[in-house]
């Protein structure tokens, strides 16, 4: 039966080529536009640490001295709170992070100095965030404690400075200090660079910057504070720091702490611990609003920061509205097409075809249009994604179609065209056999 439907549908599609082409084109451009934007949306709003993100948390306390308690604690931490919590070691893993600009030289390569960014992080950073290594490894907790002059570098930087070879053991000059490379990362492209996300609510939706590249150099936390002293940027301060760029014990928030908590019990435990810490600091007179402590998990934190850029959301809405318009037009054209064949349908009905058969036949025809339109739409999606890759935006290189979205494209195309075909098909199947035979 289905084969017969298919034959009839193909025959009917061939009969009015203009109309068919028009419908295929409508579905194709609608699908192309919406799948391009949905793919970008999907890439930017996905889980950057699948399988683990629900065990990663971002503790926050509020050291601001304002009389009135703020609605949310500041997005970053002050030095004392962050280091106290980190030292308490109450989580399965904990990582302090802060990034800063550095002047970098590789003395034995003869290349001119370059400006890049460095992440100062504690040892757990690498295992906690499943950071992949090409050569060597991260550093140990002992290295953290003794402020070892060691570094891990990105694949990008390794390519640039050392031609991609195993550069473990070589020396980099960061500002005026020598650090020894102990590890080289594989290409690592978290989307967004989640561990540095903060301040999204103040960005007026302009959050494309979260999807940039990771830092080029990673050093132990206290080593970083030492060798790049004077070059750290505050997130916000409630008074000007005494020495610009030196923020230890300054009235500023500028650091982030991430913790990994493997069980629900530990999460509850850590929440109590965090509240207890804030209360204790309040008693000591250092924190004013102890109640303003929070601990969102990674996805909650990304959501709170509205990481998907506003323009991307706007484009998605526009594309969906456009798809709706295309579908409406397809409904109209399908209706015209099916009704024009009233005579033929009447004859088939008179010869014994049931309403269901006619209905099925019309739907198969609509589905076929969807399939062809979807294939063409897929090509347009690939063109659209290519166009996005040419744009000077941080996430441009991420814009590729994955298998999920490939399947979704066809599903959406066929579903959309079937949806568009439902009403015209039901109208067509209600054609009364006798009347059509009489008048034509």
């Amino acid at each position: 039966m289905f084969r017969y439907h298919l034959q009839l549908a193909l025959h009917s599609l061939r009969r009015n080529k203009m109309l068919t082409a028009l419908m295929v084109l409508l579905i194709a451009v609608g699908i192309g536009a919406s799948m391009t934007t949905l793919t970008v949306m999907h890439l930017l709003s996905g889980d950057p640490l699948p399988g683990k993100s629900q065990r990663i948390f971002h503790p926050q306390v509020d050291p601001m001295p304002d009389e009135k308690m703020r609605e949310f604690p500041p997005d970053m931490m002050d030095y004392t709170s962050a280091v106290d919590l980190w030292r308490a070691r109450r989580a399965d893993r904990q990582a302090l992070v802060v990034d800063s600009g550095i002047k970098l030289r590789a003395p034995d390569t003869g290349m001119p100095p370059l400006m890049t960014t460095m992440l100062s992080a504690s040892a757990d950073f690498f295992p906690m965030f499943d950071v992949p290594f090409a050569y060597g490894s991260g550093w140990s907790e002992q290295d953290d404690a003794k402020r070892a002059r060691v570094a891990v570098i990105s694949a990008d930087l390794n390519d640039k400075l050392f031609g991609g070879g195993n550069s473990v053991g070589r020396i980099l000059r960061v500002r005026d200090a020598d650090v020894r490379i102990v590890g080289v990362l594989k290409p690592w492209r978290p989307s967004p660079v989640y561990y540095m996300v903060a301040g999204g609510r103040f960005s007026a939706g302009d959050t494309a910057g979260y999807y940039g590249k990771t830092e080029d150099v990673f050093v132990p936390f206290f080593t970083g504070l030492e060798i790049n002293d004077g070059h750290f940027a505050q997130f916000t301060c409630w008074a000007l720091p005494e020495t610009p760029g030196h923020l230890q014990n300054a009235p500023c928030v500028w650091l982030q702490l991430w913790v990994q908590l493997d069980t629900q019990a530990k999460v509850a435990d850590y929440r109590r611990f965090l509240a207890g810490y804030a209360a204790e600091q309040k008693a000591a007179g250092r924190i004013r609003h102890a109640a303003n402590a929070r601990m969102p998990d990674l996805m909650e934190w990304l959501d709170f920061n509205g990481v998907v850029p506003r323009d991307v959301k706007l484009q998605t809405w526009l594309a969906l509205a456009f798809l709706a318009i295309c579908l409406f037009n397809t409904v109209g054209l399908l209706l015209a097409k099916f009704m024009r064949r009233g005579g033929e349908i009447g004859v088939r009905r008179a010869l014994g075809a049931t309403r269901g058969t006619i209905f099925g036949h019309c739907l198969v025809e609509a589905g076929l249009i969807g399939l062809i339109g979807g294939t063409l739409g897929l090509c347009l999606t690939l063109v659209g994604l290519w166009a996005i890759r040419q744009q000077p935006i941080e996430y441009a290189d991420l814009a590729h179609l994955d298998l999920t979205m490939l399947a979704a494209t066809f599903a959406l195309a066929v579903a959309a065209s079937l949806l568009a075909g439902l009403f015209p098909a039901s109208r067509a199947s209600r054609v009364a056999p006798a009347i059509q035979l009489k008048t034509h």
Partner: protein, 405 residues
């Protein structure tokens, strides 16, 4: 043209009529909002930076560790001024469309109770003010004594210029001259008001477009700043001068790293700053174009179907004496009626869509002026789209009436 028979004919094709109406309504809703988004972007992209971008270029240094500001600035400014064609050079902390130096919240009282907003603080040396060509529209210029040394970001007590936009925000309807404001312990008094001066990141700061020109200019001595410079030249010379400035700077201050991305003519920095907005603008324009095309094709499709279906009736009307013009007018009027219904519905949808945009994207309310503009466009589109099928209908000869099918 009698409308009644058209209406009753449409009554017999309710579904098709409804479809065309809905197509036009949807198109109208998207069109009005897209136009609104476009005008918003264009408004942002046309922002007046307050300086003559065509004759200014930025030069920025990084990584000058342990450098002495007076020494480096002396070498840098001398090198810049020695370039043929340079009409001025100065030390700045930031420039419009460049990297931000310092956003900070200010209060209108010493105790910090009355919050005034978050402007960007520009710190300029004496030659920078002249190089940039900044002159207050109201109040006084800076005198040599105003340029104080600042060891940590800004001087503790300064005479400043603010922009008209920021003045109107702080003291609406009142003169800003002589008024005071505070940033923590820092105290500022307004000496002059600038007509325009954009912050480095107009439209992308905390308060969005409203605060695009919330700038404060604080006069500081040249040795309070380090690493960012501005040069002025004749617009025709500027590309060469900017090139030469990059080279001269690398030679004059070899211990620093030249910031390639930020060392460019201001017009280049502006173009780059708005690159994403321009891309969005083109996207909106192409969506509008594609949408209009799709709607027109839909109308052509349905109208052709109608004409085909009514061939016999048209033949009869022609046989009864209707002219070609009558038939043509019939279809044009029919489309006009459908478009009108669609536009009315579309305006409601446009308004609803705008409410959603306002909620999710913090956009302003859709000005009513966009609705008639969208309506006229869709009327025209409908008339144009239906013209082909209508002409085909008009070409049907009366003799068709005598045929049996």
């Amino acid at each position: 043209m009698d409308i009644k028979p058209i209406l009753s004919a449409l009554g017999r094709h309710r579904v098709a009529a409804l479809l065309i109406t809905l197509e036009i309504a949807l198109a109208c809703a998207v069109l009005c909002n897209a136009f609104f988004l476009i005008s918003g972007r264009m408004g942002l992209m046309r922002i007046d930076s307050g300086v003559d971008e065509r004759s200014l270029a930025a030069v920025a240094l990084n990584g000058c560790d342990g450098c002495n500001a007076a020494d480096v600035n002396g070498r840098a400014l001398a090198a810049l001024r020695a370039i043929p064609g340079v009409r001025g050079a100065g030390v700045v902390n930031a420039l419009p469309f460049g990297q931000r130096a310092g956003d900070a919240g200010v209060t209108l009282d010493r105790d910090g109770k009355h919050f005034g907003g978050v402007p960007h603080f520009y710190a300029f040396g004496p030659s920078a003010v002249e190089t940039l060509g900044l002159r207050p529209a109201q109040g006084r210029g800076f005198v040599p004594g105003d340029f104080q040394r600042a060891d940590n970001f800004l001087p503790a007590d300064a005479q400043v210029w603010i922009t008209r936009a920021f003045a109107d925000h702080l003291w609406p309807g009142e003169s800003a001259l002589g008024r005071e404001f505070w940033m923590g312990d820092y105290h500022f008094r307004v000496a002059g008001v600038l007509a325009h001066f954009a912050r480095p990141n107009p439209g992308r700061s905390e308060d969005g477009l409203a605060s695009a020109e919330w700038s404060v200019v604080v006069p500081v001595s040249d040795d309070s700043l380090l690493g960012s410079y501005v040069v002025r030249a004749d617009p025709a010379d500027l590309p060469n001068v900017a090139d030469a400035a990059r080279k001269a700077m690398a030679k004059a201050v070899p211990e620093a790293v030249l910031d390639q991305a930020q060392s460019r003519p201001l017009s280049d920095l502006r173009r780059e700053y708005f690159q994403r907005d321009r891309a969005m603008l083109w996207l909106l324009v192409s969506v509008i174009g594609a949408m209009l095309l799709v709607t027109a094709l839909g109308i052509v499709g349905l109208a052709s179907f109608w004409v085909a279906q009514r061939t016999k009736q048209i033949g009869i009307r022609r046989a009864l004496g209707a002219t070609r013009g009558d038939i043509l007018r019939y279809y044009q009027t029919e489309n006009f009626l459908l478009a009108t219904a669609g536009i009315v519905l579309g305006m409601l949808l446009a308004y609803g869509g705008n409410l959603l945009l306002m909620k999710h994207f913090e956009l302003a309310r859709l000005p009513l002026a966009y609705l008639p503009a969208g309506a006229v466009l869709l009327w025209l589109l409908g008339q144009l789209a239906v013209l082909g099928p209508a002409m085909r209908a008009a070409a049907i000869p009366p003799v068709v009436a005598t045929r049996s099918a």
